[in-house]
């Protein structure tokens, strides 16, 4: 998650959950005996105050969690993360992926009654998203030639070259559409509408008491017929996650975005509550806790040392002791939540302390008495140097540091833990490059082009935060990433990503520890949640 707080992607849902599959336009109850009920208010707990409610000018998880229900993207995402119609009802891919043509839904209205048209989409991309939305700007900013609106219901995206990931970048998380008539001619970052937004979404804005709560009401003219079921939705800002759980138990809130491991035991088994896991999060999806090796440091330049460290660390305890079983050991550089891109059957270094010691010996790191090993003929390192490295991490990830230090010191590698808060961590690692190793939650995003490329491409070595921390340079990998972004055919992309991952596992610029997921929790009397999207409450209903 790099910055602060998010994990994401779809995981398993408990059987008791009532699911709604969005098939085209109509909500269809697929499972369960409970028929949707109209009316009522849902109270949702938010962990931080969003500050403003314009999801198009930021990638902040706080704003996105609070504001996406007010808006829509051209496309939505289903429970597998695949694109489905939202503001656009259909699309065509032309010129082998260099041109995308979208047909917009008819009769969509903004909350103030103005008609939504293709001009809103063009304006949002050109004037807002490509300037202010960090992910959209970084991924398609240099490749997008233009967005055309030949008529009110047609939008055409033209790229310099075939561009594969577009359909995964059009939901309300990646590209929410905002009204042109409100934002035109103003500074989008200080427009008052950011605090009293006008969208197309299932809920319309009522009030925002800063630091306390955001009140939304049903949008009676929502373009998805019959939705939403709720009359209102209140988002309560409760900064302490354990207090959120108490508020849920006390009946003051109905839905939690994040239930952490230690608190799960309070709710699981209690028939009043339901939980579901997902790898999607509005601030970043499909995250892998990753150890980066600074390849500019003489000690870590040596592949055998990196391999030894990977062999020394046993990863299952990370899942059981830190994540309380939420998540799994990483099996590939790309998250298994992007199944078509994640390579299977890769040969990641297995836990083998003997092999780790043998590798370190072979490099010239010798055991001499107590403590870390000593250099005896290590290339680029003066004899007598001790094998000691630092490991930087967010304070929230202190347990990862602890679980790394012990096994590494067991094979003679001294580790000094350095907890740094995010605002300090990022410049230290990515600008000053003042570290040996670190632990980062790298979120792959909905497509490898968005969150994976930045970790490995040589053009992505700082100073922007959460890019290529290892300073990994491999022209072959660069070329394969460039090919993959131009290849629209999924089987072809899949083959390219497989080649990339095979090389990465050999080169080991990083070591991939565990894939993390979030657990959402809600009261059993409510159903219809879609935890895999920011429009999670569109089809929620609550029994009285």
């Amino acid at each position: 998650m790099g910055a602060g707080g998010t994990r994401g992607g779809v995981k398993r849902l408990l059987a008791s959950l009532v699911l709604f599959a969005m098939a085209g336009t109509c909500p269809m109850p697929t499972v369960g005996q409970d028929a949707p009920v109209r009316g009522g208010t849902l109270v949702v707990a938010l962990v931080s105050d969003p500050g403003h409610l314009n999801p198009a000018i930021t990638t902040s998880g706080a704003t996105h969690a609070a504001a996406e229900l007010l808006y829509n993207g051209l496309l939505g995402r289903d429970e597998r993360g695949e694109p489905i119609p939202d503001l656009a009802e259909s699309w065509q891919i032309e010129e082998s992926g260099a041109v995308y043509r979208f047909r917009l839904r008819d009769g969509v209205k903004w909350h103030d009654g103005t008609s939504f048209t293709a001009a809103d989409v063009k304006f949002t991309f050109e004037n807002i998203l490509l300037k202010f939305h960090a992910r959209t700007r970084a991924s398609m900013g240099t490749l997008l030639v233009g967005v055309d609106a030949p008529d009110d219901r047609t939008v055409v995206f033209r790229f310099k070259q075939p561009y594969a990931p577009l359909l995964y970048q059009l939901d309300a998380t990646e590209a929410p559409i905002v009204p042109r008539h409100i934002y035109q001619g103003s500074d989008p970052q200080t427009n008052p509408a950011n605090s009293s937004p006008i969208g197309t979404g299932a809920f319309r804005f009522v009030a925002y008491t800063k630091g306390a709560e955001i009140r939304l009401a049903r949008n009676p003219t929502y373009f998805k017929k019959g939705l939403p079921y709720l009359d209102g939705l209140v988002m309560r800002i409760i900064p302490d996650l354990s207090v959120q759980v108490l508020a849920l138990e006390n009946g003051e809130v109905d839905f939690l975005w994040e239930l952490r491991g230690p608190q799960q035991s309070r709710l699981t088994g209690d028939p009043r509550f339901r939980t579901a896991q997902t790898a999607y999060n509005p601030g970043g999806s499909n995250c892998i806790m990753t150890m980066s090796f600074n390849l500019e440091r003489p000690i870590l330049k040596e592949l055998r040392v990196r391999r030894a460290m990977a062999h020394a660390v046993d990863r299952p305890p990370f899942v059981s002791q830190i994540l309380f079983g939420e998540g799994k050991v990483a099996t590939a550089p790309i998250s298994s939540e992007i199944p078509w891109a994640s390579a299977k059957g890769l040969n990641l270094p297995r836990f083998d302390r003997g092999e780790a010691e043998r590798l370190l010996d072979s490099v010239g790191w010798k055991t001499e008495g107590e403590g870390p090993r000593t250099a005896r003929g290590v290339a680029g390192v003066p004899d007598g140097t001790r094998l000691s490295i630092d490991l930087l991490h967010f304070p929230a990830f202190a347990k990862y540091g602890e679980l790394m230090r012990q096994p590494l010191s067991a094979v003679g590698i001294g580790v000094v833990l350095k907890p740094l808060e995010p605002a300090v961590f990022a410049p230290t690692v990515f600008k000053d490059r003042n570290f040996d190793t670190n632990v980062i939650s790298y979120c792959n995003g909905p497509d490898p082009e968005i969150g994976v490329r930045r970790m490995y491409h040589s053009s992505q070595i700082g100073p922007a935060p959460f890019t290529n921390a290892a300073a990994y340079r491999n022209p072959r990998v660069d070329g394969l990433f460039d090919d993959a972004s131009r290849t629209v055919d999924r089987a072809g992309r899949s083959r390219l990503y497989r080649q990339i991952q095979e090389i990465l596992v050999q080169d080991l610029p990083y070591y991939w520890l565990v894939e993390t997921v979030s657990t959402r929790a809600w009261v059993a009397r409510c159903g219809g949640f879609k935890p895999w999207t920011g429009l999670f409450a569109e089809a929620v209903f609550c029994k009285r």
Partner: protein, 320 residues
């Protein structure tokens, strides 16, 4: 209060606040960290970060930034929050009432109850009452407020349903008029109590010690000898020892503010403390500076009010 005193006071306070402004600015910018990280997001590219830096003037040399900031403050403009995208004064003003309510309730509660309990314990003239109050006060003073808050939540809110767990109002049924007032009081009770405990204990100990000494003085013996009822005797004594007590209470208004940060987090109270914390993590410099300015002015104001209270409590104190 004579105008000469006011003038002297202004001459002392204005340079102090100005000095604090410059000091705050330097300290905040000297601290490691970069606001662009919080604003630019995880997936931003270098161009995006440069754009943000230029937009907020963070690419200028530090002395320039300080000069611009100081000039703006003189014109009454505290700047635009990086995170909120709105004027800082508004961002702070929205949160101020909740914090003022919480802190003033806690201050009144702790002062009144502290003095009351100590007087009661002294008047009982029993060693056991003394010891009980002393022990309880020491314990209460030593307990961190966030922990006390958690305990209060688990024992008085969850399960019993006596008090709400979080917030300032009921999220489901927004009330109006008198019902709104009652709703806020209901939500205020636990956080104010928790925040008051520390101060209450300190005040109680201070008053108790003072009273014990005062009651052993000659004028008290004389008062008792001429048959004054005990209630009036301790009233006399109390008035004489209130000066140090008021000094301590006034001096601790700032501390109450910092204790409020933790209590606001635990009870999800929508006040300034939480704004301070989130602005600190995001390195939202304009909001941080605005709040520091407010806090320093608040402490200065508390000192003035202490001075005024002095004159009222002690006829010998006169300001010229």
């Amino acid at each position: 209060m004579p105008s000469r005193y006011l003038l002297r006071w202004l001459l002392q306070v204005l340079p102090t606040v100005a000095g604090l402004l410059v000091l705050n600015f330097c300290v905040i910018h000297l601290a490691p960290g970069d606001p662009v990280v919080a604003l630019g997001g995880e997936h931003g590219d270098a161009a995006h970060h440069a754009f943000i830096r230029a937009r907020f003037g963070l690419d200028r040399p530090l002395p320039d930034q300080l000069f611009i900031y100081a000039a703006n403050v003189l014109r009454g403009d505290l700047g635009i929050s990086f995170v909120h995208g709105r004027p800082v004064a508004g961002v702070i003003a929205e949160r101020l009432p909740a914090t003022l309510l919480l802190i003033s309730t806690a201050l009144i509660l702790s002062s009144v109850a502290g003095v009351g309990l100590a007087t009661l314990a002294t008047r009982l003239r029993r060693r056991s009452a003394d010891i009980t109050l002393n022990t309880a006060a020491l314990l209460g003073y030593a307990t961190p407020s966030f922990w006390l808050g958690q305990l209060a939540l688990l024992s008085l809110a969850v399960g019993t349903g006596l008090f709400p767990v979080q917030g300032m109002t009921n999220a489901r049924q927004p009330a109006t008029g008198i019902n709104y007032l009652l709703d806020v009081l209901h939500h205020l009770a636990l956080p104010a109590l928790v925040l008051a405990v520390n101060e209450l204990c300190l005040t109680a100990r201070l008053v108790q010690t003072g009273l014990r000494e005062a009651l052993a003085t000659d004028y008290v013996r004389t008062a008792r000898a001429k048959g004054l009822p005990e209630k009036l005797v301790s009233g006399h004594a109390l008035r004489n020892i209130l000066r140090p007590v008021v000094t301590v209470i006034g001096g601790r208004a700032g501390r109450l503010f910092s204790g409020g940060v933790l209590v606001e987090v635990v009870f999800a109270w929508p006040g300034l403390g939480r704004l301070l914390l989130s602005s600190l993590l995001a390195r939202d410099y304009p909001v941080l500076l605005g709040m520091l300015l407010l806090a320093s002015s608040g402490v200065v104001l508390a000192n003035v009010m202490t001075d005024i209270a002095y004159a009222w409590l002690d006829p010998r104190v006169r300001y010229q």
